[in-house]
């Protein structure tokens, strides 16, 4: 009897020890915060190690009456492997014609304001701009600058909410809270699918706490090196009834861009 008890005791001890050694994805004793972070980290890291990318973006803005206008731009991104430093990016505007040749260079930071420069081709002027406000409309669209760039893991705190169906997939629903003090949002609710770990939908809640916008992300495609990229982003503003669609095309990866292609003085020579 005593022996059996003792054996059971050791068995329990062994199992507990084994559990403790298991990776943190284990559901035992895991907080919703940790689970939210882990799911988000898995999603974020599935997009990484792309080196650099170059993509064309067509932006279609629709007002409440359905009237459309469009912009086209090129986005070049240089991945910075360190998760505590943001990526570098260059946005080159192609249309409307009056802003053609305008370039925006960003050296992103995770929790501070980015370093940002704007090149104005009519004046041939490179202007360092304040980047503290990432929540204002980006070129008149329903996207804020932070919506375009903010998928970096360490920009938020996380909390797992629930599991639910999203279209044909199963999604983890995570709530995330921006750590950047000038963010335009108090919280975002993010749907991440369980099969390829990509973000399918985000609800944005403004500072007052009301639902402001919903972003639907779809047309995912897998590129070489297991890099997943979405090709359509549909942002609807519930308060103004305006919407903006971003259509990504001609994705290229590892095009050989380096730090030197993201220097301030490159802006003058980009066109």
């Amino acid at each position: 009897m005593n022996v059996t008890l003792k054996n059971d005791f050791y068995k329990t001890l062994l199992i507990s020890a084994a559990c403790a050694l298991l990776p943190s994805t284990s559901i035992f004793a895991q907080t919703d915060e940790q689970k939210g972070f882990d799911i988000s980290a898995r999603s974020d890291r599935s997009d990484r190690n792309f080196g650099d990318s170059h993509v064309k973006i067509n932006m279609v803005l629709r007002n409440a009456a359905g009237k459309e206008s469009s912009r086209s731009l090129d986005l070049k991104t240089l991945e910075i492997p360190d998760e505590n430093i943001g990526d570098k990016s260059i946005i080159i505007f192609d249309s409307p014609a009056d802003i053609s040749g305008t370039v925006m260079l960003s050296h992103a930071k995770i929790l501070d304001a980015d370093n940002q420069w704007l090149y104005l081709p009519a004046l041939k002027r490179i202007k360092r701009i304040s980047s503290v406000n990432k929540s204002g409309p980006f070129v008149g669209s329903e996207f804020a600058f932070e919506d375009l760039t903010a998928s970096e893991l360490n920009k938020y705190k996380y909390k797992f909410l629930r599991l639910e169906a999203c279209g044909l997939l199963q999604c983890d629903v995570i709530e995330r809270y921006p750590l950047y003090e000038h963010s335009g949002y108090t919280r975002q609710v993010v749907w991440i699918d369980q099969s390829v770990y990509q973000i399918r939908k985000i609800d944005f809640y403004e500072r007052r706490g009301d639902l402001l916008k919903t972003l639907i992300i779809d047309n995912y495609k897998k590129y070489e090196g297991d890099i997943w990229r979405a090709h359509r982003f549909i942002m609807k503003n519930h308060q103004t009834r305006k919407s903006t669609n971003l259509i990504y095309s001609d994705y290229k990866f590892n095009t050989g861009l380096t730090d030197k292609d993201f220097r301030k003085d490159i802006l003058r020579r980009i066109r």
Partner: protein, 400 residues
């Protein structure tokens, strides 16, 4: 007319070359129609009164060779004006061949180079001559022939300029408004016996560290600002261009919604030395209205130690002035923007009020409004020739 002829020569000579070597030539640019109305009748005889109409075109031809390692750019500019013969003018804004590597750039041809950080008066901006008939704010520039070698390194950007041909400033004709009482003669005089062929040199280093962006520059050659000497018969002013040495520095500190800006120069010209500074800030209140509109406040102070004798040293408006302005960016689909400001002369309390507003109408059309108001202008000051020249300009531009 000579410039126009050279345009044609260039068009004929360069274009087949460009198109044969490059994969494609990208054409963009704009055509702009302009109505300028003066609110009062002119101060001087022969000046136009009422409405001035004009039309300008600036096509831009850009082509890339060898995957963008080399670029050829051609940007001519032509303005036709209803009343002012000198404002009817043509210029080559840009026409260059550029060789590009990650660390080195070599540019040969005509180009426009902007230096500076402030909004009111860019003291350090010395490479290009001002195209004054375009706008009195001095922001429109003529193309400058140059050889420019630059290197981009981790320690910053270093550029060297050799400028073999000098461009004379444009001035309104006798029919034009916004001019001096006595018109400026077509022929200028020079300190250098090489006149326009004097080879000017410039060097600039610029970089940024954290929130600080800065540049230092040195220029040696024919100064872009002329002084003015009355001719023998007293009928015309002659623009005299001196040899100058100029050191310049420009600094911007960007912190949160604050942009702190400074530009300073030290120049020697016509046996005299002087310094000038401009400094101030721009602060932006973001999303002040309907979650979209940004409101910026600008304050800049200008001081200049040069003597106030236009026959001895180029005249300046910015000797002891304050520029106060507000910038409104609606951040709407049409990119509606407004900049309204006032330049206050602290010595004689004259003021120049200015408003610039623009709005996109659709993907190709833009509408612009510009107004300048001269207030409280005293007699016998540098501004008195302009005291009756307050105007409003409407522009409709087609971009392509």
């Amino acid at each position: 007319m000579r410039i126009l002829t050279s345009f044609l020569i260039v068009l004929v000579a360069v274009f087949p070359l460009v198109t044969s070597q490059a994969s494609e030539v990208k054409v963009s640019g704009f055509v702009v129609g302009e109505i300028r109305g003066f609110v009062t009748s002119p101060q001087f005889s022969n000046q136009l009164s009422g409405i001035q109409l004009s039309l300008a075109i600036q096509p831009e031809f850009r082509s890339r060779i060898n995957n963008g390692d080399e670029k050829i750019t051609f940007v001519p500019f032509i303005r036709l004006d209803s009343s002012d013969d000198s404002r009817t003018h043509a210029d080559i804004r840009e026409m260059y061949w550029l060789h590009n590597s990650q660390e080195w750039t070599l540019l040969v041809g005509v180009n426009r180079i902007f230096w500076g950080v402030v909004e009111s008066n860019n003291l350090v901006d010395i490479i290009n001559q001002t195209d004054l008939v375009e706008d009195i704010d001095g922001k429109e520039k003529l193309g400058q022939p140059m050889i420019n070698i630059a290197t981009q390194q981790d320690w910053g950007n270093l550029g060297f300029f050799i400028m073999p041909w000098f461009r004379e400033r444009t001035f309104p004709s006798e029919d034009g408004r916004l001019r001096s009482q006595v018109v400026v003669a077509r022929d200028a005089t020079y300190e250098s016996t090489s006149e326009q062929k004097h080879i000017d040199l410039a060097l600039r280093y610029s970089h940024y560290i954290g929130d600080w962006d800065f540049g230092v520059s040195f220029f040696k050659g024919t100064g872009r600002e002329p002084r003015f000497i009355l001719n023998g018969s007293g009928t015309q002013l002659v623009a005299q261009y001196d040899q100058v040495d100029q050191f310049g520095t420009d600094i911007q500190f960007t912190n949160d919604a604050w942009l702190w800006k400074f530009e300073g120069i030290a120049r020697s010209q016509n046996g005299k030395n002087f310094t000038a500074i401009v400094g101030g800030f721009e602060y932006t209140f973001y999303q002040v209205a309907n979650n979209k509109t940004d409101l910026g406040l600008l304050l800049e102070y200008m001081s200049d130690s040069r003597e106030q004798d236009p026959t001895e040293i180029p005249p300046t408006e910015f000797d002891d002035d304050i520029f106060l302005a507000t910038r409104l960016a609606m951040n709407d689909t049409q990119d509606t923007e407004l900049l309204a400001g006032v330049l206050i002369d602290r010595n004689n309390s004259s003021k120049i009020l200015s408003i610039e507003a623009k709005r996109r109408l659709n993907n190709h059309w833009n509408f612009e409004l510009e107004g300048r108001w001269f207030l409280n202008v005293k007699e016998n000051t540098s501004l008195s020739p302009l005291k009756k020249d307050s105007f409003v300009t409407l522009r409709l531009a087609r971009y392509f």
